[in-house]
Symmetry: C2
Subunit: 193 residues, 2 copies
DNA sequence: GGCCGTCGGCTAATCCTATTAGCCTATGAG
DNA sequence: CTCATAGGCTAATAGGATTAGCCGACGGCC
């Protein structure tokens, strides 16, 4: 059974499988090598080192998240787009909790492009609110904080009580929407963009 | 120079210093031993293992955060309490970014009590909104998500643009407040608690 | 057809960290 | 004075990361 020839992408595939199945801490070069049916040092022919592998994984996950976010926002606008974005984000994280937890948050040049694309989508979701310049940036930050915070906590199993998470998340979305609909003085939308 | 005698607490102190100065990943038993001027295995006389040390660190940080949160909420209520809580939380995380990043999110029995106390404070900050039962829980979750998300991202340096972070955070607080002031049907406050 | 460079795997070796086992000493209780 | 204990130590084991250097298969080229 000729296993598929190794390549950086294939290594990342294996890494993702490990992360999904055993958690982010189980992502180890020797674990990847084990799955690849190869000796650990051989991986260095495809990936610079473990740190880079983690970055590549982050890039991949960021890409998937971007896709999800993009699909959510497509064809919608205003509150509807915002809620769809938030729901999509959360459901991606809930579907792949370990993968989501494996995301490296600290910005790195290698993932900057993927990150920017994702920010672009979030920005697009906010378009209908007509936010200008800085106001849009503040809004994007808040949206990121809300979505990321909820996703991390849910992925970590930090919400222990029985209350329905969908409802909690709906409230979060309500907060975001209602906050944007009643912007404070400094961040009021300017003339239609 | 009689170094202070080692003890579990002293070990955690050293661990925190390492985390603060070198980041969460630098928290290693041998690093702690180095600072303590002791051989690595000696630490096992005070701490079960690295995993436990991490849990102890989490407990300590949770305690500090609880103190900060508690002080913020004391003597305030309503929107003011909420904003003070959010500001305090954020400023703690900003003051000790590595420490904040070292927090283990996954709930563990050893930190459950500390976590519950913190949740209690958040709940107290929401008291004035008169939320009943589930509604209060959903609100706490949202608040946690917002505060934690912002704190994590800020600590990781994920907000790169020049825009003032205070302003972004104020918008986040505005979202939370305005969302609570206009609760959707399901989560409307009941008769005054 | 034969030669050569490169790709991608391998083994050996090094370093670090965690963790366990077992030893040893000072110290306070009795 | 004796002894148990606390708390430090050394030796040793087990992983995991990484580097160095070896080697065979394969495609391209003369």
């Amino acid at each position: 059974m000729a296993r598929a020839p190794l390549s950086p992408d294939a290594v990342v595939d294996l890494a993702l499988r490990i992360v999904d199945e055993e958690g982010p801490d189980a992502l180890t070069l020797s674990a990847v090598a084990g799955r690849a049916g190869v000796a650990t040092p051989s991986l260095y022919k495809h990936v610079r080192n473990l740190a880079e592998l983690r970055v590549l994984v982050t890039g991949r996950v960021l890409g998937e998240l971007t896709e999800v976010a993009s699909e959510a926002v497509l064809g919608r606008s205003g509150d509807e787009a915002l809620r769809a974005l938030m729901d999509g984000w959360r459901s991606y994280a809930a579907r792949h909790p370990n993968r989501y937890s494996a995301l490296i948050q600290a910005p790195r040049p290698e993932t900057a492009e993927a990150g920017d694309r994702l920010i672009g989508i979030i920005l697009a979701a906010l378009r209908a609110y007509g936010l200008e310049g800085s106001a849009a940036i503040h809004a994007v930050r808040c949206l990121r904080a809300a979505m990321h915070g909820f996703a991390v906590l849910e992925a970590a199993g930090a919400f222990q009580l029985a209350e329905d998470l969908d409802e909690s998340h709906a409230l979060l979305a309500h907060m975001v929407v209602s906050g944007l609909q009643t912007l404070p003085r400094t961040a009021r939308p300017g003339p239609a963009a």
